[in-house]
Symmetry: C2
Subunit: 215 residues, 2 copies
């Protein structure tokens, strides 16, 4: 498999963790989101992924998968061991809801093109942009914290004591939060789980600084 990835992209980071947890090897295909006006907009990359977003996963047969959560669900279906979703439908729904609380409520507000629209089109200041970033991360993680503390199924990880899709989404979001100096002392359960995840090689080896295109 080939993973089209940018070291700092948290959606790429999610798929790197999922691949590592499942022990799958792949060729790392760097796509620089800033250089050359954004390599994701090149004709070659657009032919692979018309959305001009990373990550994209290319299978041996040439087929291309996009959208990090769809890729992770696909890996779960085609390489089920070890599982990243619990066995029971209610547990699976809880893990997916935690993952989507990050993927739909926090991350989309803070990606590169949204921040660019704020500063370039709406003319907001750097400080206002950073406040926007922190607002969505801090309030969004507060919701995740409440979901975690109010449910007995939370363990060393978001759901029990083994990593699931929820942890796979959580860790990259915390990296983003730390990069933008977001407040995190109000989400102790989130941070406890984050720190535990980073003791595992699949998470530690997938961080931006460990990637071949890291700067």
């Amino acid at each position: 498999m080939k993973l089209y990835s940018y070291f700092r992209s948290s959606a790429s980071f999610r798929v790197r963790i999922a691949l590592a947890l499942k022990g799958l090897s792949y060729d790392y295909m760097p796509v620089h989101l800033i250089k050359e006006g954004g390599q994701q907009f090149s004709p070659d990359y657009k032919a692979l992924n018309p959305a001009s977003l990373v990550p994209a996963l290319q299978e041996e047969d040439g087929s291309v998968l996009t959208q990090s959560l769809a890729i992770i669900e696909y890996l779960e279906e085609t390489r089920p061991e070890p599982p990243l979703l619990p066995k029971d439908a209610a547990g699976r729904a809880r893990v997916r809801a935690l993952a989507l609380s990050i993927a739909c409520e926090i991350h989309p507000l803070n990606n590169l093109r949204v921040l660019a629209y704020l500063t370039k089109t709406l003319g907001v200041s750097e400080e206002q942009k950073n406040t926007w970033y922190r607002h969505w991360v801090e309030t969004g993680l507060e919701t995740v914290e409440t979901m975690l503390v109010s449910d007995a199924r939370t363990g060393r990880h978001c759901h029990g004591d083994v990593p699931t899709m929820a942890d796979v989404l959580l860790v990259p979001q915390i990296f983003n939060a730390q990069r933008f100096n977001c407040r995190l002392d109000h989400v102790p359960t989130v941070m406890r789980i984050h720190e535990h995840c980073l003791t595992l090689p699949a998470f530690a080896g997938s961080v931006p600084a460990e990637q071949p295109d890291a700067e």
Copy 2:
């Protein structure tokens, strides 16, 4: 089952369509997102869903499911007929990628609290807010259009000739687009599928105007 819903919420609209496609009946529990400062912030509702978002689905045993896509995946697992995902892993990944292209790339930028932040906190004008709304809908749907026209698996619906999770996400997004007068003539495949969906009772009966809390 009880569905906590707001007639105009497109995330609620998605779950209404999925329930209807599967022929499942439910009690409609209206949650008004504007009245009384937003009923989703009431202590009673927060006890059900700490995220203060609609929809939430409550099962007969009292368990509560949140996040529209997690709810739809749960329905797919617990009430598999008729399926809302194709049988093959590659097809399932494609349908999920289409759904997530709407759920993660378009809708989060246009929900109520984000629009409120733009006007109240950042002080942007009504006109700038509407331009923001249309920008993300029009560019996001253009990506969806490209994904549809570039793939032979597109049929009368997004994936083949029967409704899937992708159609379930598409129709509510078009309702939002039309409400904000977005340009739609650049996405003819999207609109062809949208209009076909609305000929089906499961879609037509789930539209905002047909809900008990419609205004």
